[in-house]
Amino acid sequence: MKLLFITGFLGSGKTTLLLEIVKSLKGASKRIAIIENEVGQIGIDGKYLKQEGLEVQELFGGCICCALSVNLVITLKKLDQLFHPELTIIEPSGIARAGDIVDTINREIPDIAGIQVVTVVDASRYKALLEVMSPLLTSQIQAAQIVAINKTDKVDNKNINFIVESVGQLNSQAKITAISAEEKVNLEAVLKDLM
């Protein structure tokens, strides 16, 4: 089983990107599972996705504390036994630190085939978060192999360039792509990186 984490702060557009990724994978023969965990209302329609042949698990306990990793490991093991997914897409709570969760999974489920982390950054709030929530934002960016700078339709090019440069300084290894998940702008670039 491979894992794809879609992380990012609350309201950054993780769910919209997740749905686009799911759509793009629908034609493939992969068995796909989705694990959702959020402190607010879950943004996806689990029943609809189940009808589409996807296995959807909602992870309760939205606390940022350690129980999230535990519940995730248990859910992954259960999914593997019951559904045998080739790919599981995980959308952890927007206040989770992806790096810590990935560490726990690597330790507790060593036979995972691969873990990829996409961090979604909200371009319209980037400067604010960088100033008043830098530790969480930084940790989420640094955990990623791919950073999708989302909502670029809401900011000007000067801002986008600033964010690209800033993200690059925080994580020089990540592939950085400016997108608008809502407007479906440049999504194919992220999807190509994922494949």
């Binding site: 309760f60 939205g62 606390c63 504390c65 129980a67 490991v73 810590d100 726990t104 978060l129 929530m133």
Partner: protein, 379 residues
């Protein structure tokens, strides 16, 4: 086996005073979800009422041989449901423990009201009526009723646990006003407020602190306890930078401790996420005036080096270890903590955060038994 020469109460307070007790006091922060798991109970039935929650937690206490420090009152659906939409076992499909649903229940325009009357009257007179679609009078009445029920449950819990020889910790979970505001305003919106309108957040905090302090003292006086909880899951340096912490959290926390301490009350700081960069600030507090309860994310050994001889540390057997580890791993970790953090006193052996709902009974037993029986290595 460690020879016991102290009662649980003496042992607990010896650790808080930074002395060396006869053995480390053991105080797992029991949760109803964990009690359900440990006792193989149906969560839907256990969460039916706060009294049922307490019954389940007492059953777990008895079944695992008891321990030293306990919380009289469970975190109940009635209490959480006052201020938030919640998911509850027996009501929502697939749910085995309580979960709040975070939404922007407090609007930006509510800051005016909070600044005028304080956060807590605002919650009772404005937020509760709005959430439950009732009048302000009915909101106040509902809040009073829930608080009366919780006090009754808490008092029963204290009596039942004390009959079993355990020592009460704090009466209720009591979020720092910053955390309470973050929960009701939502983390996203509060973070934006801090960036765009910091003076508005300042005013709301200032208007609420005296109420927070007075209510904390009242709760302690009503229950006869001299420890008050102050919970914070979000203000640590893993989430907000230190300048935010210095402006919106720390001065208020210090004010709370000073006020409680002058009344003979110690503060139990329950601090989730990594607080290592924040801990040096706590050395400004009077020696022995607070307990620092860490969740297993903060490096407890580094924390000890910072707080040694100044404040008692409670913690921190991590949820991952308790849920996914083996009894041997739990035992070894507890011994290491007892030796290295408790070697010179000032340690309460507890769980990192509350006991997780996915707890393995054999691991929980290993933690309790190791705490009660392990004799400190002669280092």
């Amino acid at each position: 086996m460690a020879k016991e020469t102290m009662t649980s109460e003496e042992r607990l307070w010896s650790a808080i005073r930074l002395e060396k007790p006869d053995r480390v006091p053991v105080a797992p922060l029991m949760s109803t979800a964990a009690a359900s798991t440990l006792m193989n109970l149906d969560p839907a039935k256990v969460y039916a009422s706060a009294q049922d929650q307490l019954d389940a937690e007492i059953k777990a206490f008895d079944a695992f041989g008891g321990w030293d420090g306990v919380i009289g009152s469970p975190l109940s659906a009635e209490e959480l449901g006052l201020y938030f939409k919640i998911r509850k076992p027996g009501v929502d499909e697939g749910v085995t423990e309580l979960q709040t649903i975070e939404e922007e229940n407090t609007k930006f325009e509510d800051y005016d009201t909070i600044t005028e009357i304080g956060l807590y009257p605002y919650l009772m007179e404005h937020l509760v009526p709005r959430l439950h679609n009732i009048s302000p009078e009915e909101g106040t009445q509902l809040t009073d009723n829930v608080q009366t029920t919780l006090l009754e449950v808490g008092m029963r819990g204290l009596v039942e646990y004390q009959e079993r020889g355990a020592a009460p910790l704090f009466p209720v979970w009591y979020p720092h006003p910053f955390f309470q505001l973050s929960l009701t305003r939502s983390m996203v919106s509060l973070t934006e407020d801090i960036y765009y309108h910091p003076e508005v957040v300042d005013k709301a905090m200032k208007a609420s602190m005296q109420q927070y302090i007075e209510m904390g003292i009242e709760i302690c006086q009503a229950t006869g306890l001299n420890m008050c909880n102050c919970t914070e899951e979000r203000a640590g340096a893993a989430i907000y930078p230190l300048n935010v912490f210095e402006r919106f959290w720390w001065p208020y926390a210090r004010e709370v401790v000073d006020a409680f301490w002058s009344e003979g009350i110690v503060t139990w700081f329950h601090l989730d996420t990594n607080w290592i960069k924040n801990l040096p600030y706590f050395k400004e507090l009077p020696k022995g005036s607070a307990i620092i309860d860490l969740d297993g994310t903060t490096d407890i050994f580094a924390a000890k080096e910072i707080l040694r001889g100044h404040l008692c540390i409670s913690s921190d057997v991590h949820a991952t270890l308790l849920s996914l580890g083996t009894p041997e791993e739990v035992e070894n970790y507890c011994k290491k903590v007892i030796d290295e953090v408790g070697g010179d006193g000032g340690l309460i052996l507890s769980t990192g955060c509350t006991v997780p709902g996915a707890i393995k009974p054999e691991n929980f037993r290993a933690m309790i038994e190791t705490g009660k029986n392990y004799e400190l290595s002669k280092k």
